[in-house]
């Protein structure tokens, strides 16, 4: 399971960075989304995957006696997912506005801010 997740994370990172290096703005957004998902999977993976051991202490004992799944990475991922969802939706609107105003999808055309004025 770990090896599968590790490979998936790697593919997501690679695909995300490849898409970001393309010249189209839409592909840029797709790249950012893939990269964000890759990061979330990485945190999940690094929190160690423990199967079928929820972090709940049984009533008769006071402390954990066995291995248990760490709930912290999942809380972290939830936060990260919400944040990146907000950022991505902002990015989509921003790109749509930029496309309307600049009338181009090509990132190489975005050079008016570098000119002297």
């Amino acid at each position: 399971m770990e090896i599968l997740l590790a490979i998936t994370t790697g593919i997501l990172y690679a695909a995300g960075i490849y898409m970001m290096l393309r010249r189209s703005m839409v592909k840029l957004i797709l790249g950012l989304i893939l990269l964000g998902n890759g990061v979330n999977l990485l945190i999940f993976l690094l929190g160690r995957i423990t199967k079928g051991k929820p972090p709940i202490i049984p009533e008769e004992t006071k402390v954990f006696e066995d291995l248990f799944a760490d709930p912290v990475p999942q809380a972290l991922i939830l936060t990260a997912i919400v944040i990146s969802f907000g950022l991505q939706s902002f990015a989509i609107i921003l790109v749509k506005r930029a496309y309307k105003v600049l009338k181009t999808d090509d990132l190489d055309q975005l050079n008016t801010t570098d000119e002297d004025s």
Binding site: L32, L42, L45, G86, V101, S117
Partner: protein, 501 residues
């Protein structure tokens, strides 16, 4: 009980940004409320600083969860002085924004987002938890995205796309580093991390993580070679927005670098060499960029990059003198850079352009205002009694004592380039005779403004100029603060004791 006051400025900004939303269309009420809010937050941050100065490091456990498990807020001297500077610059900028930002922008929640940005900055300075730092960073960047794209002008949207992409990427790299760090140590509390990192078996992976943090924060603080988003975007939004960005946003990156590389990843010679060489390259590229630009706001943008190099280099030398110099420079730079962008806003109002080719004759027509604007300009260069001089002295001394002549030379060369760039601005815009500038009919001249509006343009610049004059003439006080911070940063026991009570 009293330690809770350290988050008071943060809470004030939160309360005011939410209450500003109830006055969405009433711009006059928003202006009054925002200025009151930032004034109260400034008073609160002064209180916090004095409290921390008198009583040592204060900590606040959110939700009363004990230190390594819950989120800790730590108000040490470094955090509290930055909160104080956020309060001061936030107050000045909110007055300036009331008159310089056009109504169309104010009507779409400019002030509400502005206070969210200040809240995020305060949170980032005060937190003692790595993941919480990430969350504050996200609050900062989402607010800054809104501020930079609000208005939707052509070059603004273009700058926003570049700014967004690089900052999002930086956050993702930071989050990757965070994930690896949690996997290695199983904790996110900074004090706990600091104690657990030396015990990790796989030190090679620790180095990789350190490098991920260096790249992530490096993008945010515009370090060579990752600074291209800054000059492409900082001159596009209104000057009030650029002022708060240039004063505080890049400095958050520097703060995070100082925090992470003094508390968590220490004794890493590779990172130290990396920081020093990046600093030298940053100084060179920023300084050389500044002298060829023809737009005042772009000159200032490149100077931000140049001076980030000074601070990063001070951190990279990793001695107490160098750290004190870097902290002093940080304090001076926040005030002066904010003021410079306010000055660029005033110049635009006087002449309807910020292009050096078309500007001219400001000194002839506005001699008093020109003298006022000279204070931040020459503070930045560091003409001896003014504020830029003293930290450079510490940095030069540290570079010389450490035998790092490359950095020593780079600081001198960077100062020279700054002098050339500022002298160029002064000669072109202020001294040279002005040409007739074609103004659009809608443009409101400075002289046509009402008296209170003129006051709103000038008062924030006067206020920040007085602060920077105090930093220059009261340098021994600031040096005392910087030395205490440098002491705290290297002697971590006090920090640990405060966190794990």
């Amino acid at each position: 009980m009293n330690e809770q006051i350290i988050i008071l400025p943060l809470l004030l900004h939160l309360v005011f940004s939410i209450s500003l939303m109830f006055f969405w269309t009433n711009i006059k009420a928003q202006k009054v409320l925002s200025i009151t809010g930032s004034f109260l937050a400034m008073c609160a941050s002064i209180w916090v600083f004095i409290y921390v100065w008198d009583n040592g490091i204060q900590t606040f456990q959110a939700g009363n969860w004990e230190a390594p498990f819950g989120i800790t807020f730590v108000g040490d001297t470094l955090a509290s002085i930055l909160v104080l500077l956020t309060g001061i610059t936030g107050f000045a900028v909110s007055i300036f924004a009331a008159v310089s930002v056009i109504k169309a922008r104010l009507r779409f929640g400019f002030y509400s987002v502005f206070h969210f940005l200040l809240m995020g900055l305060n949170g980032a300075f005060l937190t003692g938890d790595m993941f919480n730092l990430y969350v504050w960073f996200e609050i900062i960047i989402i607010s800054s995205f809104v501020l930079i794209s609000l208005g939707g002008e052509k070059n603004q949207l273009e700058g926003a796309v570049k700014y967004f992409t690089l900052n999002f990427l930086a956050s993702m790299i930071f989050l990757t580093g965070l994930g690896v760090l949690y996997g290695l140590t199983g904790t996110l509390n900074m004090a706990d991390l600091s104690q657990k990192i030396p015990l990790v078996n796989n030190q090679a992976l620790v180095d990789v993580t350190a490098f991920l943090f260096l790249v992530g924060f490096g993008i945010k603080s515009a370090v060579f070679p990752l600074y291209f988003w800054l000059p492409a975007s900082y001159h596009t939004p209104p000057s009030a927005v650029s002022a708060i960005f240039s004063g505080l946003l890049t400095k958050v990156g520097v703060y995070a670098l100082i925090r992470v590389f003094t508390l968590i990843f220490v004794n890493d010679s590779f990172i130290e060499i990396m920081l020093q060489s990046l600093a030298i390259l940053t100084i060179f590229s920023g300084g050389i960029g500044a002298i060829i630009q023809k737009n005042i706001r772009k000159v200032f943008s490149y100077l931000i990059i140049c001076h980030i190099g000074f601070m990063i280099g001070g951190l990279g030398l990793f001695t107490e003198v160098a750290m004190a110099g870097a902290i002093f420079y940080l304090i001076h730079d926040i005030v002066v850079k904010t003021n410079l962008f306010l000055v660029s806003g005033l110049i635009y109002r006087l002449k309807s352009t910020t292009s050096l080719d078309r500007l001219g004759g400001i000194y002839k027509s506005y001699p008093k205002l020109s003298l006022l604007m000279a204070i931040p300009l020459f503070s930045l260069v560091g003409i001896p009694p003014l504020s830029g001089f003293w930290p450079k002295l510490s940095l030069l001394l540290a570079g010389f004592n450490e035998g790092n002549y490359w950095y020593f030379g780079a600081v001198i060369f960077g100062s020279l380039l700054t002098l050339i760039a500022i002298a160029h601005v002064w000669a072109k815009a202020f001294w040279e005779d002005g040409k007739e500038i074609k103004k659009s009919k809608k443009f409101i001249e400075f002289n046509q403004l009402r008296k209170y509006q003129k006051m709103q343009y000038v008062a924030p610049i006067v206020f920040l100029a007085i602060v920077s004059l105090y930093i220059g003439f009261g340098a021994e006080h600031i040096q005392q603060v910087s030395l205490r911070i440098a002491n705290e940063v290297f002697d971590k026991q006090a920090y640990f004791d405060a966190v794990f009570k």
